[in-house]
Each structure stands twice: as structure tokens, then as C-alpha cells.
């Protein structure tokens, strides 16, 4: 079923929307959640929350790309859940490891103003990513957005883990330079 048809079902408050959404995007959303939470049950819970959130958001929203929209929701829910767990008990997940790799790039943020700056940083990151070949930016996003482990990325691309780590290391370093150049 096409995105527009599924969105139409959501708009019409037809419960079939959930089934259609599950059929098309459950694997994708659950993988995003699983990468962050590393726990099947939590990933399932996260996916159910995604369905519920979608039901509440559409309408009034009508996303152009349902996959990206749902992925983003799942990502946020999973990260929130991760943070909640993280504060309860330190340790674990791929998310923590992936995100800690950026400690060297940007100082931590506490204030609202700094949070707003994150949007400017997004633009810099996007510009930086577009300046890299698709393969490299794919590796970067898989690691730092989708939270894939290095070994999973290496497997996907047919590279050694060492090579993936080298690519990520160099990209982080280049991004750091870029951010410093922009005053961050």
C-alpha cells in the first residue's frame, strides 16, 4: 500500500491504517528502536508507542514521507526511553557508545539558547554530510542516527570494522573542524 493510501486511512480514522502501517514499516521502525535500546521488548513497546503517536498526529499532520516521519517518531521515543533507563542505571546500549563518540566534537549543552543552536548545528551537519560521498554519509548516519553497531555497518557495506571506525573517526574529526570554523 502506498504512503498516501495509509495516510488516508489515518485521516479517516480507519483502524486499518495501523495494520497497513505495521505491514509496511514495522521492521524499519523496530530496527531503529532496537538499535538504540538493544532490547526486543523495549523495541516492541517503542513501536506500539509509535503507532499510537501516529494515530494522534495524523490528522492534522499529513507527512510527505511516512517512512521518514514514523522513523523520526520511533527514534525520539526510543531515545527518550533510553534516557529514562540511562538515568536509572548507567551503562549498556549502542546508543551510549555511538553518542559518546562525539564528546570531543561539541561541548555539552544545558541552556535553551544552546538547544536552539542545535538547529544551526543541524544545518552544518547536513552541509558536511552532503560534502561527503553517499557511502560515507550513509555510514555516518547509520551510526549516529540509526545507532547501528560498527559491526553491523561493516557487514552491510562489506568493509572491515577497522575501516568503518577509521571512516567515522576521520568524519568526526572533519566535522569538528567544520563546527569550530562556524564558531561552535
Amino acid at each position: 500500500m502506498e504512503d498516501k493510501e495509509i495516510i488516508g486511512l489515518f485521516v479517516n480514522r480507519d483502524e486499518e491504517a495501523i495494520f497497513a502501517f505495521k505491514e509496511n514499516f514495522e521492521a524499519y521502525c523496530r530496527k531503529i528502536a532496537l538499535n538504540i535500546l538493544r532490547n526486543e521488548e523495549d523495541a516492541e513497546e517503542c513501536f506500539n508507542d509509535t503507532c499510537f503517536t501516529l494515530w494522534n498526529l495524523i490528522p492534522p499532520n499529513s507527512p510527505e514521507n511516512l517512512k521518514a516521519f514514523a522513523g523520526r517518531i520511533t527514534h525520539n521515543i526510543a531515545l527518550n526511553l533510553f534516557r529514562k533507563r540511562f538515568t536509572q542505571k548507567r551503562g549498556g546500549g549502542e546508543a551510549e557508545i555511538a553518542l559518546s563518540e562525539f564528546d570531543e566534537c561539541i561541548p555539552g549543552t544545558e541552556t535553551v539558547e544552546e538547544t536552539i543552536e542545535a538547529k544551526e548545528i543541524t544545518k552544518i551537519i547536513e552541509k558536511f554530510l552532503y560534502s561527503n560521498p553517499p557511502e560515507k554519509r550513509g555510514i555516518f548516519i547509520r551510526r549516529y542516527w540509526y545507532m547501528f553497531s560498527v559491526s553491523e555497518i561493516a557487514e552491510s557495506y562489506g568493509f572491515s570494522e577497522g575501516k568503518i571506525k577509521s571512516i567515522l573517526f576521520r568524519m568526526r574529526k572533519e566535522l569538528k573542524k567544520e563546527l569550530e570554523r562556524e564558531g561552535f
Binding site: 525520539n76 551503562g91 553518542l99 562525539f102 547536513e126 577509521s166
Partner: protein, 254 residues
């Protein structure tokens, strides 16, 4: 949680990038080297004409047996192909290695500059358990450079705290070097994060690293001579003592 700003920024990247990244990547396949018959014939001729001196693999690289001692004066040369498949597979599961396209990249990665034609890279890392305790020595990386400061080969030593010692070596036809084994029995408290530079009386430049282990201290020095990496290690009761021993050996080597 650290770097909240970066997470927020990453969360905001556009849909196009997100969807592109999740597309099935084209896997890289390394093309098989074409073997020309002329080269093959030449190789057969050479094999027939020159007595083959097999390099004896004397060290115990078994994963299940604990290495008790290692004679650092042994200059065993091993190649990846000489390792058993089982061991290679085991290593590949855990090894943490880096390839460099040039020495410059290696220098940037390690954060130190190497002397021309006598270069080494040493980088060590530790993994930690849930409580933040160091549990395992992860890797060391060495790079040999040629006169143009291009990395010719990379070797990685990998060893774990439970006594298993593994060495994983990458070679090119331009360089050869020893097995490069270290043995550390336990996590130490004293280690230098930066290799210390030492210039021998003959002008060779080398770096010295220290790692402690159960009250004993290991030092290792590395030289590249005639494009051959030679590593000499020593053991002492103190860091200073171990270093002195090492320097003595380095001078003797010349």
C-alpha cells in the same frame, strides 16, 4: 548524557539523508588479482631454483592456552596466512585495527609526528566494563614508513588480560618485522599515554612505551632499520628500571 546538543542536531537532519542512509548499500567486493601465467612460471622457476627457508612459527598462539612467558629476543615472523583459520576467525571477532592510506593519516590519527624513515606508531586503548573498570587491553598499532613517509605496513598487536596473547600482522613486500608480542598479565596502573622519544647514540630515533603489570614493568622500543622494524622489550622492577634496560638493549642493538 553528554553532548545533548549533537543528538538534537542529528535528530533534525532531513528526511532525504535519513532515507538515503538506510538504502541497501552496494557491497564492496575486492576483485581477485589476475594471475598472469608469465608470473606464475617465474614463480615456479624461482621456487625450484632457490631453497625455501620456512620461517618457523614457534610461538604458541593458541587461544585456549595461557601464554606464560615470551622470549622477547625471538624474532619470529608470522604472516596472516600462517595463522590457523580458527584463530583468524577468533581474531577477526575481536580485533580492533585501523588501516591508513598514508603515514600522514596515521600521524593524525595517533597525534604524533614520526621521524622520516624511522617511524612507528603506538596506540593503545582499553575497553571497560559496566562499572567503568578497564578490563581488556584492546590494541596497539604500528606503522612502518618508508623514506617518503608513506605507510608501508601496519601491524596490530592484540592481547587480553586473561593471558591470551595474539599478534596480528599485516605486511607488504617492502617490510618485515618481528612478531611483536607483549605479555601483560593484569591491568596496570602506571602507563604512559604518550610514547617517549629516545635517540640512540647512533642517531636512531625510537619511542618507548611503558605498561605496568603486577608490579613489573614492560618497556618496548621500536626501530626501523633498513625498512625492518625491530622491537626490543625489557622487563624491570620499576618503570625507570625497565626503561634503562631497554635503552641498554637499544644501544647494544646498534
Amino acid at each position: 548524557m553528554k553532548n545533548k546538543k549533537f543528538y538534537e542536531a542529528m535528530e533534525g537532519i532531513n528526511d532525504e539523508l535519513l532515507l538515503e542512509a538506510i538504502e541497501e548499500p552496494k557491497r564492496k567486493h575486492r576483485p581477485l588479482k589476475k594471475i598472469k601465467w608469465t608470473f606464475l612460471a617465474a614463480a615456479i622457476f624461482l621456487l625450484a631454483a632457490v631453497p625455501v627457508v620456512a620461517e618457523v612459527f614457534e610461538l604458541d598462539y593458541s587461544f585456549n592456552e595461557t601464554a606464560k612467558t615470551y622470549d622477547y629476543t625471538t624474532n619470529a615472523k608470522i604472516k596472516e596466512s600462517e595463522l590457523s583459520e580458527e584463530l583468524r576467525n577468533s581474531i577477526n571477532k575481536e580485533i580492533n585495527y585501523f588501516f591508513f592510506d598514508s603515514l600522514k593519516e596515521a600521524e593524525e590519527f595517533i597525534g604524533i609526528s614520526f621521524p622520516k624513515n624511522r617511524a612507528l606508531v603506538a596506540k593503545s586503548g582499553f575497553s571497560t566494563d559496566e562499572n567503568g573498570n578497564e578490563t581488556e587491553f584492546r590494541y596497539k598499532v604500528y606503522v612502518i614508513a618508508n623514506e617518503n613517509k608513506e605507510a608501508e605496513s601496519v601491524t596490530c598487536n592484540f592481547f587480553t588480560w586473561n593471558g591470551d596473547v595474539i599478534s596480528y600482522i599485516f605486511t607488504t613486500d617492502k617490510a618485515s618485522f618481528d612478531g611483536g608480542l607483549f605479555f601483560y598479565k593484569n591491568s596496570g596502573d602506571q602507563r604512559s599515554s604518550e610514547p617517549e622519544k629516545y635517540i640512540t647514540s647512533a642517531g636512531y630515533e625510537c619511542f618507548i612505551t611503558n605498561v605496568s603489570s603486577n608490579g613489573c614493568f614492560h618497556s618496548s622500543g621500536i626501530l626501523v632499520v633498513n625498512r625492518t622494524l625491530v622491537k626490543i622489550s625489557s622487563l624491570g622492577n620499576t618503570v625507570a628500571n625497565a626503561k634503562e634496560n631497554l635503552i641498554e638493549k637499544l644501544e647494544l642493538f646498534e
